[in-house]
Symmetry: C2
Subunit: 328 residues, 2 copies
């Protein structure tokens, strides 16, 4: 299958390397970064393209861009891993719409488009007989979507809850372990690169809430937006509250949960037993999937990182390659 | 797709009910228990068949058996959930060979045949263009096989390790929690139905070792047998050793591990930090999958139970139904 990729940051490079080094039956035929692009229907020499990108900052020729690639006939699947605006989803949203409208399947790691416009993208894919896949948008390397649709196929999912934000989990872990205040732990997370200069998006629970919106719409066909999520962040959690919990073998974690029967989407700090599978350390993510046959299945892994995101994108590519038979 | 099922114990009944109650695109056309059977190419009335089984102990007509079903043209997929002999794998092994030889795909929950004869069954399936699926043989409801082949597709699996036996995990949990001796905890496990009258198979690590053999052969194409596994059971673990570990926030679990680079398959009690994702409580199972892109992904869930096993069988059926494109 011929692959076009928009975006060549650390995730895009990781994907290109995997296509180069492994025998996946995939050929990279078009790629664009913010300044340049190239289209080679017979297959790009990935090693030399990456070398050029490293040397010059450009993967191809200036003037060749996303629009040229999208309009070309050089690809079967679009990988959309460009930087996006979380509020509008653009320009990724437009790229994805354009590819789906042309009947091309799309794999993306961008939360924005999927959280903002899932139902319309889903319909567009269906209408044009294309796949839309987005495993990488929720909890990085953890294969939540694949597990629900494949490993737990035939089950009704009754509830989903978990630790969806590694930054918050790091801060809460450090407050519990070392008795740090919220501000001290946040400072430490910033120094280690786990928190942004403006940490609002993470610590206020917004990032976790966006993941709940994606899951609610994808797993249950709901039509939720960020406004439908009850959100409480971790910035009000005190060291004293955590210490009190720890005395009773409990701790505090930021838990996101979807309970379809009660129409609830909620992100909030919760007191849970330290022996609970969701109590993971540092920046790990964890998701518990409740089902009526398989019981509760919990998945734990790295929720962020470029190689981890590349892994999720590649699993989606291979799903499409293997023609799974279910249209998005 | 037309399904034939050999075995109608609690797992088989669970599968039949799921086919009846859910719109899975599957039709049950043949079934046999130890005393009777029925073949109805146009589709069995599952509700009335289950009612007859409940009332008479027989699902069909005496004299109709596995051989008749296997030789018929009434099915596309065989579900093999009959009782088996762990040492010979029979009669399940023969049933599976017969179906695969006729080009029919097979889904089984029987560890014996898969652990004893994986390579030859795998070849037989390949030769006849059939699928052989066995998710239910390792850790019940936990979708290990699906996760490796689908959710982590494109990853190299560098190591697999975990808690593969719920009976041992229950005993070790209770020894740590309540300071019970091994004998006291074993007695409690027996009373609760978590341990057999003869617990050798579980507490000596043999059950966990069989699961490692299946995973080694299936995931890496090894040709291992039970003799290749270094096995130490939990019957030598003392309350004092656990108490000492707990003082330092550590505990003891029976860990099975496969390290392909070192050609190691090993089951043994290990000291691990209590905060480690593999430290699960009571009868839960947990498996950590190490990969080079996705990092470490841990799956936790119920490793036994008839409904949980039925869930795994159904996920395999749906995999085949969806024509995944990869031959066993």
């Amino acid at each position: 299958m011929r692959i076009a990729m928009l975006g060549l940051g650390s995730v895009g490079k990781g994907i290109a390397r995997a296509i180069l080094e492994q025998d996946l039956g995939l050929s990279l035929t078009a790629v664009a970064d913010s300044k340049s692009g190239r289209i080679e229907p017979s297959g790009i020499d990935i090693a030399s393209m990456l070398e050029q990108k490293e040397r010059t900052g450009m993967c191809g020729t200036p003037g060749v861009g996303a629009a040229d690639i999208l309009a070309s006939d050089a690809y079967d699947i679009l990988i959309e891993v460009s930087p996006t605006n979380a509020e509008t989803g653009e320009p990724a949203l437009g790229y994805i719409r354009e590819a789906l409208s042309r009947g091309m399947s799309v794999v993306t790691s961008n939360k924005g488009p999927v959280a903002l416009d899932y139902q319309s993208l889903h319909l567009l894919a269906k209408e044009h007989g294309a796949y839309l896949r987005y495993e990488a948008t929720v909890c990085g390397a953890i294969p939540i979507m694949h597990t629900i649709e494949s490993g737990l196929a035939g089950n009704t999912i009754t509830k989903l809850y978990g630790v969806f934000n590694g930054t918050c989990n790091y801060i809460l872990t450090r407050m519990a372990e070392e008795g740090l205040t919220y501000q001290q732990a946040l400072l430490e997370a910033r120094e280690l690169g786990y928190a942004e200069a403006d940490p609002t998006y993470d610590v206020k629970g917004i990032d976790a809430a966006i993941k709940l919106v994606i899951l609610a719409n994808a797993v249950w066909g709901m039509e939720k937006t960020l406004d439908d999520v009850e959100i409480t962040g971790i910035d009000g959690v005190t060291t004293a509250a955590i210490a009190l919990a720890e005395e009773q073998d409990l701790t505090i974690r930021l838990i996101g949960e979807i309970i379809p029967a009660e129409d609830v989407l909620r992100v909030s700090p919760r007191i849970i037993p330290k022996s609970h599978p969701l109590v993971v350390e540092e920046t790990l993510n964890a998701v518990a999937i409740d089902t009526e046959m398989a019981g509760e299945i919990t998945l734990i892994g790295k929720g962020a990182g470029s190689l981890e995101t590349a892994s999720a994108v590649i699993s989606d590519l291979l799903f499409i390659r293997d023609c799974h038979g279910r249209r998005s």
